[in-house]
């Protein structure tokens, strides 16, 4: 046998890793179908329970508003993890974003705030890159440390700056000017009329459209555009291919002349910048001041969103929408009622899963699903309200359930979170 023969299988496996699964069909029809199905189910639940706020324009507007910061944090996580760096410091970078955004926003106007917030988050990212890439510190350890540091630094700086300003204090900033909001002209009136009719499906659609076409902040539009922009940059450019290769197999990337350190640095700095932008959004659009503890773990939820979305921008956006929706419900005055109605939605959905399991002859799964569905249904029927304390952790519970159901089908970047030293391939 010659050496060429023994080397052959090695090369084959390398290619197999890089190749997408062969039988990959377009998932678009499937996705559209599930969205339509979910919508019909939601509409049905609304009609049955009379919880009209579930799909009202106000709820939808808030859902969008709460989805954006989570989605931005998730995008931040995506950039960093695609380059192989786990970024649990997103929360800290987001905190830096809220503070720097508010600090500059109060003094120089909202758009300057946006710029400073991004820079603030990116500085957190730089620190994370320094610790993980240059010094090889464990990614989670560094992330936790950065979150502690971010919270401490902003608290110190607030004490120094905001207390001196009128309307500010040690834990909050003065009011920041608004970013312009725009509406699609001519659709507001008709949609509002339709929504008031409370027709099955039609009014729900009107509510959703109304929520996302009227009084949308410009920053929201920028943030939404970042999703396709990220997809394009990471999956359709040479730069993106190289960046992702650093997350899949840095040794191979290095052997092809990619400067892995530089790409990792860039990715983590961009990641911090996106998290920072999410922070600014919280301070400037979701509310109009900086408050201590404003991020409230949204950086972590962003990270969960990214996992939920299987390290892809599309899934991430869907996840962010889901979390934004549950987040919005608890902010609404009729939140308890809406969440109570959602119990029925969940019960029906899980019952559907049970039916599917029976059809596929997976009787254990079916049994578990059926039991869960009945339990939720019983909760729905026996109580007529969900305590506010429970509403508050609905996004977290959803995250946990989704991960428990889907975690094994997920595929993170192959070298995600692993230490990498230049030249370690020998």
């Amino acid at each position: 046998m010659s050496s060429a023969q023994s080397a052959q299988p090695l090369i084959d496996t390398d290619i197999a890793i890089a190749k997408p699964p062969p039988a990959r069909r377009s998932k678009l029809p499937y996705v559209l179908l599930s969205i339509a199905g979910g919508l019909i189910l939601l509409s049905l639940v609304r009609s049955l329970t009379g919880a009209d706020d579930l799909t009202s324009r106000g709820t939808m507007r808030e859902a969008l508003q709460w989805a954006v910061p989570i989605g931005l944090a998730g995008l931040g996580g995506l950039w960093s993890e695609r380059a192989g760096i786990v970024n649990i410091g997103l929360e800290g970078m987001m905190i830096l974003g809220t503070w720097f955004g508010a600090w500059a926003g109060v003094q120089y106007g909202p758009w300057a705030g946006v710029a400073f917030g991004i820079v603030g988050g990116a500085m957190g990212g730089l620190l994370h890159a320094l610790a993980t890439v240059t010094f090889g510190v464990d990614h989670i350890v560094s992330g936790v440390a950065i979150t502690i540091l971010g919270a401490g630094l902003t608290r110190y700086l607030s004490g120094l700056t905001f207390t001196e300003m009128e309307g500010g204090g040690p834990t909050q900033s003065p009011t920041i000017g608004d970013i312009q909001r725009v509406s699609v002209p001519g659709v507001n009136g008709p949609l509002e009329d339709l929504e008031r009719k409370h027709w099955f499906l039609v009014s729900d659609l009107a509510g959703i459209l109304g929520g996302v076409t009227t009084a949308v902040s410009l920053l929201t539009i920028v943030a939404l555009l970042l999703v396709p922009a990220t997809y394009f940059a990471l999956w359709r450019t040479t730069f993106g291919l190289r960046l992702r290769s650093c997350g899949e197999n840095p040794v191979a990337a290095e052997s092809l002349g990619v400067n892995v350190y530089r790409y990792k640095y860039l990715a983590v700095i961009i990641s911090g910048g996106l998290a920072g932008l999410g922070g600014v959004y919280l301070a400037e659009v979701s509310s109009s001041i900086y408050r201590e503890g404003q991020t409230n773990g949204r950086g972590y939820i962003g990270l969960a969103t990214m996992i939920f979305g299987n390290w892809r921008p599309g899934g991430l956006a869907a996840g962010a929408g889901l979390f934004g929706f549950t987040d919005a419900l608890q902010q609404r005055p009729a939140g308890g009622e809406s969440v109570h109605a959602l119990l029925l939605f969940v019960a029906l959905l899980v019952a559907g899963v049970a039916v599917r399991s029976i059809l596929r002859k997976r009787y254990v799964n079916a049994g578990v699903s059926l039991a869960v569905a009945l339990a939720v249904l019983a909760w729905f029927l026996l109580q007529d309200d969900v305590p506010n304390e429970f509403v508050r952790f609905m996004p977290h519970l959803t995250t946990l359930l989704v991960l428990a159901l889907a975690a094994q089908r997920l595929r993170p970047p192959a070298a995600d979170g692993l230490p990498y030293r230049r030249g370690q391939g020998g």
Partner: protein, 527 residues
């Protein structure tokens, strides 16, 4: 090259360009070809395919028959048994077991190596086999084990380096916060002096010890997970839920009637069980569904906080004292309060629970270094594939580690509950779990290091209170704490690398090889 069937395109190809198995064959061939008197072969067939493995084994057998003394060190137990005349198991530099290769099974050998069979202490094991010329030299096998951080023999130089790391990190943290103070026009020396004076008053010292009590337990809870690369970020939720449920049950009508000390024990037990169960959810999700414990414990924190908030409200089991606005559980009967230790010259008393914290520390040290559990835990953390290969059930270890970590987390709220508040209130201090993470990082997961970390953190917590009186923003201390955590972890990582390099050099010198900095040893350790 021909004798050992090295597959290469040509004789002039550099060895480094060959595949791992072929490199291995080449090295074996090189060593055997100068007809040595003694051969020390460490993992001679690692990464070699089955055919070549048999060939290498044959070569070793032939050489032995010709009078060569072979010391064989291997992770492949079948290889050891098949090739050796005598088997010896070394634990911590001592021979602890002899075995006859003709009768021993791989399982028996493995249990001798982990210390489970007969010998109580589990440590890294190396096995050697001496051939007929019985005067085979004893080589310091522990250098290999030490490369994995497994031995504890004290080496003055590396000890100093280890100590230098946290000191340097603290200096950096102090420097950075001094700069922050100077920027805001405050004399840092004055600020630190004030803190030192205030922090060493008697009342302060009592307060520092009391804070350290719960910080220490929280940090140990985190550290147990860290030791096997398991991140229990959820200590916060675990201790709050545990404290809430334990206080509610202890003050409730079922348990109220119990005699004081029994009730106190019952409260402690309930807290431990609740904490363990809450952490167990994350452990179970990890081993059955593959959910990362980092995310799940963070989510469980939020869910736990929500449940606590509901339970403590009046719709739950909380009661609102007349005229008050903070809901709480019923007061625990006075008999169950854990008495404090009075200190002369101080108004406050030291928590009696401090002894529990000390016991936790000793128990942690003992479990980690003197039990099979601790060995498995550290092995799974240091090198999971190797641990699996030597029979550690990692899934089971994950679940157990999570349960133990959560159980300890359940204790965190109790010094305050049984020593000071005697009831759980909606204002019960939160965030101790996160501080625990920071302290575990500073203390590098060692029982003694964590104690220093907890005392330092408590000192900073306490002494910052004086700063407000001097109109210095006390938040500077939070920066100091944050920076110190980050610089400490970086310093430890740098030290780890430095020691690894020193170790490689030392091993190289001992084996008479001039090892280049990036030898396969480095790849083996970092992989």
């Amino acid at each position: 090259v021909r004798d050992y069937d090295v597959r290469t395109p040509g004789i002039d190809v550099k060895a480094a360009a060959l595949s791992g198995g072929n490199q291995q064959k080449l090295i074996v061939g090189r060593e055997m070809s100068h007809r040595p008197k003694v051969l020390i072969a460490a993992h001679p067939t690692r990464g070699v395919d089955v055919g070549a493995q048999a060939a290498i084994w044959d070569h070793i057998r032939d050489a032995r028959a010709a009078g060569l003394a072979v010391v064989l060190i291997s992770a492949d137990l079948d290889e050891l048994i098949g090739l050796s005349d005598t088997l010896r198991v070394i634990l911590r530099g001592r021979f602890v077991a002899d075995a006859d290769p003709a009768t021993v099974t791989p399982e028996e050998l493995g249990s001798a190596m982990t210390g489970a069979g007969g010998s109580a202490s589990g440590q890294a094991a190396a096995t050697d086999a001496t051939a007929r010329p019985a005067s085979a030299p004893r080589v310091r096998f522990d250098s290999i084990a030490r490369g994995l951080g497994m031995t504890r023999r004290f080496d003055l130089r590396s000890g100093l380096i280890t100590l230098a790391a946290p000191v340097a990190a603290m200096l950096i943290a102090a420097l950075l916060s001094s700069i922050a103070l100077i920027i805001s026009d405050i004399d840092p020396i004055f600020a630190f002096q004030q803190m030192l004076d205030y922090g060493t008053e008697r009342d302060s010292i009592v307060d520092i010890i009391n804070r350290s009590t719960y910080y220490y337990i929280a940090a140990v809870a985190v550290a147990i997970g860290f030791r096997m690369n398991l991140f229990n970020i959820g200590v916060d939720g675990q201790y709050q839920l545990a404290g809430m449920v334990a206080a509610g049950a202890g003050g409730g009508f079922l348990l109220r009637g119990l005699p004081g000390p029994v009730l106190a024990l019952a409260v402690i037990l309930i807290a431990v069980v609740v904490g363990a169960l809450w952490a167990g959810v994350a452990g179970l999700l990890k081993v059955t569904r593959g959910v990362s414990e980092v995310i799940s414990t963070i989510m469980l924190n939020a869910i736990g906080a929500g449940i606590v908030a509901y339970l403590i409200s009046e719709r739950g089991i909380g009661v609102l004292p007349p005229g008050g606005n903070i809901t709480s559980t019923r007061l625990l009967p006075e008999g169950s309060w854990i008495p404090g230790i009075p200190v002369s010259g101080a108004r406050a008393e030291v928590f009696g629970f401090v002894f529990v914290a000390i016991a936790v520390g000793i128990g942690y040290w003992w479990a980690l270094n003197r039990t099979r559990f601790g060995f498995d835990l550290r092995a799974a953390g240091a090198n999971a594939p190797a641990a699996v290969a030597s029979g550690v059930d990692v899934r089971r270890m994950v679940l157990i580690a999570m349960l133990v970590s959560g159980g300890l987390a359940g204790l965190v709220g109790l010094p305050l509950l049984l020593g000071e508040y005697h009831q759980f209130t909606s204002e019960f201090p939160g965030g101790i779990g996160f501080t625990g993470i920071a302290i575990a990082l500073i203390g590098r997961n060692s029982p003694v290091g964590i104690a220093f970390g907890a005392l330092l953190w408590s000192f900073l917590d306490r002494s910052q209170q004086i700063l407000d009186l001097e109109s210095i923003p006390k938040e500077i201390v939070v920066i100091l704490q944050g920076v110190s955590v980050l610089s400490v972890v970086i310093a430890y990582e740098l030290v780890r690398r430095l020691r690894l390099r020193l170790e490689q050099r030392r091993v190289g010198e001992q084996l008479g090889l001039t090892a280049p900095p990036e030898t396969p040893v480095a790849a083996g350790v970092s992989a």
